[in-house]
Amino acid sequence: MFPSNYNYSIRINSRYTLINNTLTGALDIIESDIWNLIAVKKINSISPNVLTRLRHRGYFYTDPKKEDKVLVELYNNYIKKASERPLRFVFCPSYQCNLRCIYCFETDLPSNPNKYMTVKILDDSLAAAEEIIKEKSGKIDSVELFGGEPLLLKNKPFVEKILKFAKKKDAPITIITNGVSAKEFIEILSPMRDKIEMLQITIDGPREIHDKRRKYPSGKGSFDQISKNIDLLLKNKIHTNVRINIDNTNIEYIPDLYEYISAKNWIQDPDFSIRLALVTDHTLLDYNNIVIPEEKLLEKLIRVYDEYPVLEELFGFYLFKPLRHILDILNGAPNVSPKFFNCESNLLELNVFCPDGYIYACGESIGKPDLAIGKFSPKVEFYPDKKTLWTERTILNIKKCRTCRFAPICGGGCAFSSILIYKDNCRPICERYQEVLDTFLKLRGEKILKKYMDKS
């Protein structure tokens, strides 16, 4: 019997080991003694029933070539299903922003000569969306507002027009905003409240922490204004999600922010949600005192959770990509999607319309016309070679990924990083899957065992 390329295992204690096959999605708890026999190649000492079960679940194959055939067949079927996926349109009414957050990845955008969509550019973007919908005979999955900052006062008539388009198409709306001017948009957002799936605003900690990170060009902090605007949004029953961007410098202040939010009674509001997100840097592979290795941040977060269990219940661990497949299955999903690529940019699922008239595949690549997949103004035209830049990046095409045990849950890493760092769209961008999984399961593995093994 030949072991799968995609087996991950971690010994939780002397009695039990957790095993996972990232290609088939199998997740099992096995006696450590048995798994050890496999590790030292004493397979013949294991009962035939257990061996059969391991084989049926994809941990072993009798034919060493069969697994690659399974990989290719799954990939081909995945692409067939992906071609039927609904469309997503992202509108960036401007490249401008009214804050100067210290970690912004779009610091070059305000100096872009195309600062705001013109009336013609906006009309062309809506016409382009109609044309794409007609061509693909698809239903729109979402209309999203992004930027720069979409909710700038100057953008208001444009935002209104985009929201009306979304309503006409019966598309759910998402708005990614810093929230500082949200009050000025309440009158156009309120009538749309049933269509607004999420209006996302970032708060990075209690006032003194947030204001050091997310400030106006004058240096003044934005916390108080955002807080007042969230009160107003919730009063108008507009679903508001607060995202807390965490890194090494603010992670310990999450309990203080939770205290503030609880005192505001936001947590109990049915239109309020909150989650953590990681600060990452796609331009480098190194770490620094702000962006530390992911497993180190996970350790720090677990220490916070150990002191404040209510935060673990509220936030959980889904912000860590390496853990999502396991968390989904532990939460009852029968199985999770295998990842043949990193994100929707590789499926060209996002059509990001920008003030420069270009269509982009990825929110991070906006403002860089050499990465655009097409133009929508003056008319729609796509660039096949630029589309291929995103679509040919799969774990089957990236040599190192094809037999990497984490590839079906990783997807090969960020395409934008590969292009920027290596000037090559098919280089692996490895994140810390092994380290994050090991850390999580060492610190929370016993809890998982208790849930499953006590039942049997």
Binding site: V70, A277, T280, H282, I329, N342, C343
Partner: protein, 39 residues
């Protein structure tokens, strides 16, 4: 050995992926993460 998910739901036994939920996303980093630049 205890299986947390069922063998019939595994992808080697469902090669057509008919059990795959249609909603794949959002997966992208600019939704889940904040992409940072060292100043």
């Amino acid at each position: 050995m205890k299986s947390i998910n069922k063998t019939k739901d595994l992808w080697n036994n469902d090669l057509t992926l008919k059990g795959l939920k249609d909603n794949f996303g959002p997966m992208c980093c600019w939704y889940w993460c904040l992409i940072y630049r060292i100043p």
